[in-house]
């Protein structure tokens, strides 16, 4: 497969290994099968917290025996301190809902920029528990809330109260004590704009501030269950063992609100995908794999199989996909044991084999796994994952329509084969509801919502633009076109962006009857570093974050490197 290399570098590696094409990568089915990797944002954050030796403390714990009150978690880095202000609530079961229409939660949080004083806490106490109905300020970087996994939370509380540690298998069956149902950053509800903090090295990367908030929320989930067990049974209660804590993450429950994000941030998604694809290409270009690298890969692969075993979902399609993933990982392990990495360009050969033999889940898992031994080669790519969407916003009006037509034909080839005159090709409609001002997906046939479409059907809109261009001379400019046809402005902008940023566009129909919105959520959440995706419907998914991650007292450069895949039990 790789015998014909002629451009090897001095080490015999092939610097010219091409990135996978956008037509291959940016399909919804593949995006909906993506896995976390070394470049995922949680891993990037923990690497930094460990290497810079950030200090954690809990200066305030003011929570009563009913579980009402507040706590403050502080984390101090080389230049700045951030504080999670947590409000604990005693929520009746009938009020517990993960959906955005909820009005009360088991816990609510704000990440404060610096160290809050009593005035700040008082202000936050009036607003943070109300979430969207309250207002925060530029001193706050994140607003979030979480609900308990009632079953596991109550179980752990009972065990600790009785003086025993919970059973590890019970912990594994859920994976978290609480799940966040929203983690808002970037200026939402009055919080600080990303632009005002993105020059700070620790917050420059995408979603670093949100990932920091969730890491601190995880500490709160351990402390609150321990506290309540202690209040229940002061004479018998025990501390929650760190080794068990570390097997738990924070859950997250996400609906459609997140889905349009990838479409609305084309340059950002391009940069995420480009970084991961570049990492994959770098590893595939290596002429040989050394024993230590093969050993790391083998270890992570075995542990990835354990992780897949812990992945529970009742969703019919995803349940089959997870079963297939388990089979795929087993086959991958056998294939490697049979000497698959002994050839030259072993990772490339393996990737080609995976592409031919494994499911999309298996392929994407394998490609994330081959990155594991190569931190020194790829970790710096994390710095390329931010984006300045603003800089790419202006339209090039001097472009001739000949070029616009050409670039549409090149980049939207996938759309040319979709017949948008067929109702099924655009049966879905993205809209915003009056109720919670959140994105929703409806049926175009519903008259009430038909007039409220959001511009998220890019393939269809660009095809309409192409049709319009048929009546325009090639020599005319984009500027002239848009003066007469302002309705196509959004599509022109996207087409020009995708010319410069090939992974900017999802190369699939985002308004057709075959759309699974959770594919969009999965892609984004995999870049966060989420694992164990558990779709509840086609547009609602639960995940685990930081499952297996070291707690602050155990956070070192070594543990920050290696936590995503569960540990193999001794023997």
């Amino acid at each position: 497969m790789r015998e014909l290399h002629t451009h090897s570098d001095v080490n015999g590696n092939d610097p010219g290994t091409a990135l996978r094409s956008p037509e291959t990568v940016m399909r919804l089915a593949r995006m909906g099968s993506m896995h976390q990797s070394r470049l995922s944002f949680m891993r990037v954050l923990l690497r930094r917290l460990a290497s810079e030796n950030w200090k954690f403390s809990r200066p305030v714990w003011n929570i009563d025996s009913t579980g009402e009150g507040h706590a403050v978690y502080a984390v101090m880095g080389p230049a700045r301190t951030y504080s999670l202000v947590a409000f604990a609530h005693d929520l009746p079961d009938e009020m517990r809902s993960d959906r955005v229409i909820a009005t009360a939660w088991d816990a609510t949080f704000a990440l404060f920029d610096g160290t809050p004083d009593e005035g700040d806490i008082a202000r936050l106490a009036l607003n943070v528990p109300r979430q969207e109905a309250g207002r925060v300020s530029g001193r706050e970087l994140v607003l979030a809330r979480a609900n308990r996994s009632v079953r596991l939370f109550d179980y752990v509380r009972r065990c600790l109260g009785e003086g025993i540690q919970p059973d590890a298998r019970e912990l594994d069956s859920v994976g978290y004590l609480m799940r966040t149902t929203a983690v808002y950053g970037s200026g939402k509800f009055g919080a600080a704009d990303r632009e005002s903090i993105c020059e700070r090295p620790e917050l420059a990367g995408p979603f670093q501030v949100e990932m920091l908030a969730v890491y601190l929320i995880r500490l709160f989930t351990f402390d609150i269950v321990e506290h309540l067990a202690q209040c229940d049974s002061p004479s018998t209660a025990v501390k929650f063992a760190t080794t068990l804590r570390e097997t738990l993450g924070v859950g997250n429950s996400t609906g459609l609100g997140m889905a349009p994000f990838l479409i609305n941030h084309p340059v950002l998604i391009n940069n995420w995908i480009t970084a991961r694809e570049t990492a994959i290409a770098r590893v595939r270009s290596l002429r040989q794999a050394y024993a230590t690298e093969i050993a790391i890969f083998g270890d992570r692969l075995r542990r990835a199989r354990l992780s897949a075993d812990l992945w529970h979902t009742d969703h019919p399609a995803k349940s089959i996909a997870v079963d297939t993933l388990r089979t795929d990982l087993a086959r991958l392990e056998q294939h490697v044991a049979a000497g698959a990495l002994a050839s030259t360009f072993p990772w490339d050969v393996l990737a080609v084999w995976a592409g031919e033999e494994l499911s999309l889940e298996g392929q994407e898992a394998a490609l994330s796994l081959i990155l594991e031994p190569y931190g020194a080669l790829i970790d710096s790519l994390a710095e390329t994952m931010k984006a300045d969407e603003q800089a790419q916003f202006p339209i090039n009006g001097a472009m001739r329509l000949r070029e616009l037509k050409q670039l549409i034909r090149e980049n939207y080839n996938f759309a040319a084969s979709i017949d948008f005159s067929q109702p099924a090709s655009q049966s879905r409609i993205w809209y915003t509801s009056q109720e919670k001002l959140e994105p929703r997906l409806g049926e175009r046939s519903e008259p009430v919502i038909a007039g409220y479409e959001q511009p998220l059907g890019t393939a269809r809109d660009v095809m309409a633009l192409l049709q319009c261009l048929a009546t325009w001379p090639d020599e005319d400019t984009v500027a002239k076109l848009l003066m007469a046809e302002p309705g196509h402005r959004h599509a022109v902008r996207r087409a020009q962006i995708v010319q410069r940023f090939p992974y900017a566009e999802i190369r699939d129909n985002t308004v057709g009857d075959g759309l699974f919105p959770i594919d969009l959520l999965r892609c984004k959440l995999s870049f966060f570093g989420a694992t164990h995706f558990d779709p509840k419907t086609d547009r609602w998914v639960r995940i685990a974050m930081y499952r297996g991650a070291p707690t602050p007292e155990n956070l070192t450069p070594l543990t920050a490197e290696d936590w995503v895949y569960p540990r193999l039990s001794a023997g």
Binding site: K188, L482, P486, H490, R539, W540
Partner: protein, 215 residues
């Protein structure tokens, strides 16, 4: 008065512009324009709110006749988001030898962000001349306003300005800005027009839930 983050302000203005009838592509321009003005401490939000509510605004949505460099609305007047976006689109096409004239422009303050962007794309200082006031914008995003920009302009000209030396305009701010209650109310009312009414079926199907979370 209310304090909105810049992201909230941009989103509100984008939705309000869409609610008032601009295409999504132009509505995005409106959001960016007000954000730019606000970060340069200019009152973009009230200008947008006034324009979108103006009785003549609807007639400005029918496109621009640009024959001979004279930009005239196909309706009664030009709105400065459509006209500004076109200035930006024409940035690389503006030469020493010609100028663009705009006739009957609503809220021309909103042209300033587009002039700034056009200067950056063109590579020369650009002058926006209202006769009673003018705006000079450099490729480096500096600008100076001379005089008071009117709420409507019968005529405005855009041309390259060669004779300017080195100069420095206002700096940007990156913090949330106050917005007056009337403007906020007007923009929110227009933004509301982009939201679909809720029905029980859309509530359940749209977000995809209807499940118990007490597990």
């Amino acid at each position: 008065m209310a304090v909105l983050s810049l992201n909230e302000l941009e989103a509100l203005c984008r939705k309000a512009a869409r609610g008032a009838g601009l295409s999504w592509g132009l509505a995005e321009e409106a959001g960016k324009a007000v954000r730019w003005l606000t970060t340069h401490q200019l009152q973009g939000a009230p200008a947008l709110a006034r324009m979108l509510q103006s009785a003549d605004f609807a007639s400005s949505l029918g496109g621009i006749d640009s024959a001979g460099g004279r930009w005239i609305s196909n309706g009664k007047c030009l709105n400065s988001i459509s006209a500004g976006a076109s200035i930006s689109d024409h940035a690389r096409l503006i030469t020493d030898s010609g100028e663009i004239t705009l006739h009957d422009v609503l809220e021309p303050l909103l042209l300033v962000p587009f002039l700034s962007r056009a200067a950056a794309l063109n590579g020369h200082d650009l002058l926006l001349d209202f006769e009673i006031a003018s705006v000079l914008a450099s490729p480096a995003e500096s600008f100076v306003i001379d005089g008071e920009i009117p709420q409507t302009a019968a005529r405005a000209a855009v041309r390259i300005c060669q004779e300017t030396g080195a100069w420095q305009g206002p700096t940007t701010v990156l913090e949330a800005q106050e917005i007056d209650a009337t403007t906020l109310e007007q923009l929110e009312a227009l933004a509301f027009l982009t939201y679909a009414p809720s029905t029980e079926s859309s509530r359940l199907a749209g977000a995809g839930a209807g499940l118990s979370d007490n597990d």
